[in-house]
């Protein structure tokens, strides 16, 4: 009994330290965001003496973060929807359908995961420009889809590979078409994985700066993270305003975690142990 108590502490203390290391930067940012620039310069670590939410309001109003938020919602929703559709279909095909070159194609998809975006920036920029998609939300939706599709395919293929072939064959016997199997069996079975992949992709898209900067060049079309990054000038010295913008930008992400934490956990667990 006593041994169990000691073991619990041995696990709990490092976990507590890890939790503190995770939470501290957020609390530091919150504290900075509630300070004036003067307070920050004189002592950045001290608790805010005169708590103020002016930096949040300024970041939201004068920096146009409201419009940027809407832009982020549009491109994130569009990209995630497309990624889930294409990723689940490809995952189904790679894991359950037999066709020539299946393994090679899957390996190519995996290979695409290893290409950093910086390597393909120039041709990517050219193609989008020639297709007339620069500075359009559709262009960014397609860019995100192209960038994150290999990861989505990989996860969905791994998940669907654990679905027993018998399930598919039973559906065939019952007269289901391939599309029917996808719609009536694979999509419902894959729901936990789709939710996890969807949330992960939403976070990737929401937090991206570089691709968005490249595609959406005018201020009115910018996404939220780009807007927040632009709050810094060459070497911006108004860190409290920047901290306010950062917190405004991550607020929806925190909400997603708060509301979907059970589904995220369930999805990851289901993906890991299915079959």
């Amino acid at each position: 009994m006593r041994e169990r108590g000691v073991a619990r502490w041995v696990i709990a203390v490092p976990m507590l330290l890890l939790a503190l290391a995770t939470v501290y930067p957020m609390l530091f940012t919150l504290n900075v965001a509630m300070k004036s620039r003067r307070e920050y310069v004189l002592d950045r670590f001290a608790p805010a003496e005169h708590v103020s939410f002016a930096n949040f309001a300024e970041a939201w109003n004068s920096s146009g973060l409201g419009r940027y938020t809407l832009n982020s919602v549009i491109v994130t929703a569009g990209a995630v929807a497309l990624l889930l559709l294409l990723g689940s279909m490809a995952g189904f095909a790679f894991s359950q359908l037999n066709f020539r070159g299946r393994k090679s194609l899957f390996l190519l998809c995996l290979g695409a995961l290893m290409i950093p975006f910086q390597v393909i920036m120039v041709p990517f920029f050219r193609v989008l420009g020639q297709a007339g998609l620069l500075d359009t939300h559709l262009g960014l939706v397609l860019a995100y889809t192209g960038q994150f599709l290999p990861f989505t395919i990989f996860l969905m293929t791994s998940f669907y590979a654990r679905v027993p072939q018998e399930v598919i064959e039973a559906a065939r016997v019952d007269g289901s078409s391939t599309l029917g199997i996808y719609r009536r069996i694979m999509v419902p079975i894959g729901r936990p994985a789709l939710l996890s992949v969807g949330i992960l992709n939403a976070l990737f898209c929401w937090n991206d700066v570089l691709i968005s900067l490249l595609v959406l060049q005018s201020e009115r079309n910018r996404t939220l993270m780009v807007g927040v990054t632009a709050l810094r000038g060459q070497y911006s010295d108004n860190i409290p305003l920047f901290a306010g913008g950062v917190l405004v930008a991550v607020f929806p992400v925190i909400l997603v975690y708060l509301f979907f934490q059970r589904q995220i956990t369930d999805g990851v667990t289901a993906g890991a142990t299915k079959g």
């Binding site: 920050y40 310069v41 004189l42 002592d43 950045r44 004068s62 920096s63 490809a90 095909a93 359908l97 037999n98 066709f99 070159g101 194609l105 190519l108 998809c109 290979g111 695409a112 290409i115 910086q118 390597v119 393909i120 920036m121 120039v122 041709p123 990517f124 920029f125 050219r126 193609v127 420009g129 620069l134 192209g146 599709l149 290999p150 598919i168 064959e169 065939r172 016997v173 078409s177 391939t178 599309l179 199997i181 700066v209 570089l210 900067l213 490249l214 060049q217 005018s218 201020e219 780009v226 990054t229 632009a230 709050l231 810094r232 000038g233 060459q234 070497y235 911006s236 010295d237 860190i239």
Partner: protein, 439 residues
């Protein structure tokens, strides 16, 4: 029993070719990238330019509230002269700026005008800009700092501000250390004595952040006027750099020994120069700092926090046998260039002129604290004593030494400066590597 593939409907089987293409897309993209990098388009046309009546300008300042009046003024002036032509300023984050611009240049598609730092950043991209010597003759007298925007004698951007590295100091820290607050160090002996006293009083003598390796740029350019003879200085700027000279060695040895002697705040290699180094100085946590005269970390920023305690001095004379007289290292800071692919280049040059107009630059100086490149702007009514000193030193100033180096050598010097502080390389080893890189 039929297998899944046997039963795969036609609609599902048909897209196989598309799948192959989709799977090959990253490979094709990489190949195209390699080709693109080898042979960039000479021109691609801006998105609109004259046709759409719109000029797009990239910079890293127009999103800053302090520069709003300047940009509004330039835009109003230009649009007043050219009704129907719209100007759009796109503020890019500085840390991504040259990556984005590099992509635009490779693709031959991007803004009509772009902001540049003088020196290596401009020179590396000169091939994408139009020469401006003939088109901006009318500005040559009024503006100064042109040399920083030249490549092989041709001007590619118009200077808007000047940039330099004066030594700022905190008079109250000097007082606390028992030093004369009106007598900043003028020699190596005084510098060392002052630093020892300030350290003894419990404050960092200098604030330094070298996380990005930028500290050595400030150190080299900042101290060089007090070490090099005028001839050596000019030779360096002209590309005749002797990395094995005793003078260069003296600067690098001081960089190392100053850290060993504890001149700086703790954690130099993990402290960001922008803005932690300067925030520490503004917050009274350091006696001295090598700062800027424009953009940020300048007299106006420091005055906001230190007020009458802010002092400024020129580089101390560290090598009296060579440098009998010291001066402020300063040159063109930022400027605007016109991209080659811009369709209506005359219009774009006209916008550069609006951005460089005296009325607009007065606002840049007054609101943002930038020392404008315009020699006609009167600064005599300045209320901050530091700016009066800086402006009075400008006529005798010489360009910064580090901006004469290539981007490749600058990268190396950043890394070596961190290794010197850590004790991973010796001064001689560092200088040998730099000499090889700077050939």
């Amino acid at each position: 029993m039929p297998t899944a593939s046997d039963q795969t409907p036609r609609w599902f089987r048909q897209p196989r070719r598309s799948w192959v293409l989709a799977a090959l897309a990253p490979l094709l993209a990489v190949t195209a990238g390699a080709c693109g990098a080898a042979a960039p388009e000479a021109s691609g046309g801006s998105q609109g330019a004259a046709e759409s009546g719109k000029l797009v300008v990239w910079d890293w300042h127009s999103g800053d509230a302090k520069t709003k009046a300047y940009y509004d003024k330039a835009k109003t002036d230009f649009e007043g002269k050219h009704p129907g032509v719209e100007v759009e300023f796109v503020a890019q984050p500085y840390d991504q700026y040259y990556t984005l611009l590099g992509t635009a240049i490779q693709a031959g598609k991007g803004p009509d005008l772009a902001m540049f730092n003088g020196g290596a950043q401009l020179r590396e991209r000169a091939a994408s800009l139009i020469p401006l010597d003939e088109k901006t003759k009318d500005l040559s007298e009024r503006l100064t700092g042109w040399d920083a925007f030249k490549d092989k004698g041709t001007t590619y951007a118009v200077p808007i501000t000047l940039q330099g590295f004066p030594f700022y100091y905190n008079k109250s820290v000097y007082k606390k250390a028992g030093l004369d607050p009106e007598k900043p160090p003028a020699s190596l002996a005084e510098l060392k004595a002052d630093c020892a006293a300030i350290k003894k009083a419990g404050t960092a003598c200098f604030n330094l952040g070298n996380k990005e390796g930028l500290g050595i740029e400030f150190f080299l350019s900042g101290f060089a006027p007090g070490v090099f003879s005028p001839q050596q200085y000019d030779a360096w700027l002209a590309g005749k750099r002797d990395w094995s000279s005793p003078e260069v060695k003296q600067i690098f040895q001081l960089w190392k020994s100053s850290n060993d002697e504890g001149w700086y705040n703790q954690g130099v290699n993990s402290t960001a120069m922008f803005m932690d180094q300067f925030t520490m100085f503004s917050g009274g946590k350091g006696g001295n700092v090598i700062g800027l005269i424009s953009d940020t970390a300048h007299w106006k920023d420091f005055d906001e926090f230190l007020g009458p305690d802010l002092g400024v001095y020129q580089p101390p004379v560290l090598n009296p046998a060579n440098a009998t007289k010291t001066y402020l290292p300063a040159e063109g800071g930022i400027g605007y260039g016109v991209m080659k692919w811009t369709k209506n280049q005359e219009l774009a040059v006209d916008l550069v002129k609006s951005l460089a107009s005296t009325d607009a630059l007065k606002l840049f100086y007054g609101n943002a604290g930038a020392i404008a490149a315009d020699t006609t702007i009167d600064t005599s009514d300045a209320t901050v004593p530091a700016v009066k000193s800086i402006v009075s030193w400008l006529p005798d100033s010489k360009p910064l030494l580090h901006t004469a180096l290539s981007a490749k050598t600058l990268d190396l010097i950043h890394r070596l400066s961190q290794q010197l502080i850590n004790g991973d390389v010796t001064v001689d080893q560092a200088l040998t590597q730099l000499a090889a890189s700077d050939k």
